[in-house]
Symmetry: C2
Subunit: 256 residues, 2 copies
Amino acid sequence: MRTEPTPSRRTFLGASLATASGIGLAGCASVSASNQVSSSLLARGRNVLFQGDSITDADRDRDHAAEPNVQPALGEGYAWFAASGMLTAAPNSGLRVWNRGVSGHKVFQLAERWQKDCLDLAPDVLSILIGVNDIWHSKSGNYQGTVEIYERDYDALLTRTLQALPKVQLVVCEPFVLRCGAVQDSWFPEFDQYRAAARRVADHHGARFVPFQAMFDAAIAYAPPEHWAKDGVHPSAAGASLMAQTWRDVVEGRRG
Amino acid sequence: MRTEPTPSRRTFLGASLATASGIGLAGCASVSASNQVSSSLLARGRNVLFQGDSITDADRDRDHAAEPNVQPALGEGYAWFAASGMLTAAPNSGLRVWNRGVSGHKVFQLAERWQKDCLDLAPDVLSILIGVNDIWHSKSGNYQGTVEIYERDYDALLTRTLQALPKVQLVVCEPFVLRCGAVQDSWFPEFDQYRAAARRVADHHGARFVPFQAMFDAAIAYAPPEHWAKDGVHPSAAGASLMAQTWRDVVEGRRG
């Protein structure tokens, strides 16, 4: 358990921000400002690492893996869309953004490559999106996973990370699916338990939590599930753009 | 000339925000917070209208034009990407987002359809991106435009808008190009003068200015011009995502 700000501390800070930032001067409540919870994790010169599975990988070019910030190295998904937004918003920030997502991976496979693909990179901000393969590959008979294994392995991975990198800022992204394509009714309610496990792991280690499932649940009011992820798992460009915005909102302290 | 906050007033508010919002508590300067300039324009229940040419149009479906917020009506470009970000960030905000961009249009063509496609919709927030066709169609011999005509017509359009809708919040988006595709060296330095004219018009009417050219000038450090807009004019999904993020940063008061 970390001693970083707890949820209640964050709420207190959020209230202070809303009160002190002069929003009332405009004569109306701001839709976004009311969600502010804390400060941005993107201080000058920070090393930002995206980790995960195919959703993070997004066809990144391994030949460019040694270069931060460039599109081939970051792929074509939410990590790249978020990175380009961060980098152009503050061109002189000295941020270095990396992607080490690998298609098909589950939590135990992150652990197998964690020294090289995470700890050796010494990120200041570490964002992880993992879980959909833990259930998908189990449902398809290629893996014998359970929610308990997922939570145990994920928790151990973050404990190990914080032992090696005590100052790292953790970002845990909620696993999500759209109800279409490869996603079957038989995934539920088990999938909801994976999401809840990710949330518990985040809370246990003081990580910021990016609510991708809640975001997509809201998004289907405006476009059908297939618009966001044709197969229910891998986001379209529109889905990736939405994820990038939500990720930045959370990481830059604009929502909880 | 409006009596809305002037740039210097905005800077003052921005300084207050940075000082009062407790950023220092994190022990480091935030990359994004340092750019905060003012409050969000997206108060509850606001009517947000995107206007412009093909970049805004982005293949929107006219059959859905009477419906706010839905993807078919908003197209597949930056307006939709920004709308989905705003709407999912605050699902109960009551925001209504509309798109009335029309491919090929120049400023005088906005004026021709302004009553029906803008004033009758009574937007609370009006965002306009116009200008690339004013130079492009002139260079290709299909229109006899000049920077002076662009600025005069654009200025008149905003004067007319503010007379009809004195409380509207204006957002002027910087015309932009990438140096590839259809964009020729012969466009310069004239194109830079169109950009400067848009900026003057924005300042004259107290509009927020979205610096899309500056954004893309920064973005080509991370991916080549063709990645952002294959023909130099019409953004890719990555380009649209970047625009949506920058648009939201400005409109929601996170940068100037």
